[in-house]
Symmetry: C2
Subunit: 133 residues, 2 copies
DNA sequence: ATAATAATGCAACATTGTTGCATTATTATA
DNA sequence: TATAATAATGCAACAATGTTGCATTATTAT
């Protein structure tokens, strides 16, 4: 927790620790609304600033789902910043419980597009999750 | 244009026609801001309602990009509604011009996740587009 | 312990999207 | 083509989401 903040060279504060705690006890990605509920009493501006910083530092990654709220989840250890992630997982969105999971896949698909230089590939699967089946 | 609206069993209005015209002369996906610029003078509420309807009817599909604005693009002929699309293309987001392209791929990857029922797969590639290289 | 620096919390604001309702336009039918 | 039924538009007002400036407070380096 504090080690993570130290490694990213940002100050260790109570607020940041509590945000990290919330993500650590969760197995699925979280919406901002869910984080707010977990926090109880808090300052909205500080929350937004913290989430923005965590994304910039490669502590959290953002998952944008069409027709749904943005979700956030913890990054892998080796993510550098907003633009240099090193994930090898896909995002699964359950149509029943609407939870979003970060899931490892055996083989991550390669995408080739003539004339385009592909740098990163983000995959989102939609369907019914393990616990809703 | 009018044929499309008729086939979806919704009324033909000037506003809807002008929205469809904007999308037809464009090769890339559009942000709401871009649509507003193209429209010139318009009513914001009508625009939002029109876009919502078009998404529900399978006329437009929404592309959610992490850290960027939502984009919209025309659907394939056989898209039924919001939840029943029949696209076979991926979405490419250029890091230089930030345009979003709908691009056909030779083979659309299959995703298998033990315990999860996959119904749809959305793929987003990021990199440098044809015209920015 | 002190100074330098960064984070927080408040107010105020900006952007984005929604709801209710009267007016206007489209469509079906006679 | 005229009329009635129905749906879309445009306005006001609001709700939700996200941002900026600035004084106060906390963290860190010395
Ligand atoms: Zn589920
Ligand atoms: Zn993830
Ligand atoms: Zn480009
Ligand atoms: Zn598309």
């Amino acid at each position: 927790m504090e080690k993570l903040l130290r490694s990213k060279k940002i100050r260790i504060t109570d607020f940041r620790i509590s945000i990290l705690n919330i993500f650590n006890k969760q197995s699925t990605a979280l919406s901002i609304e869910e984080i707010e509920t977990e926090l109880g009493q808090f300052d909205r501006i500080t929350l937004y600033r913290t989430l923005k910083l965590f994304k910039e530092k490669g502590i959290l990654h953002e998952i944008a789902i069409a027709g749904s709220n943005v979700r956030l989840a913890l990054c892998e250890q080796n993510c550098e910043d907003l633009h240099h992630h090193h994930h090898n997982h896909i995002h699964f969105h359950c149509v029943l419980c609407s939870e979003v999971y970060c899931l490892d896949v055996e083989t991550y698909p390669e995408i080739g597009l003539a004339g385009f230089e592909v740098q990163q590939v983000e995959i989102q699967a939609t369907g019914i999750c393990k616990s809703c089946r």
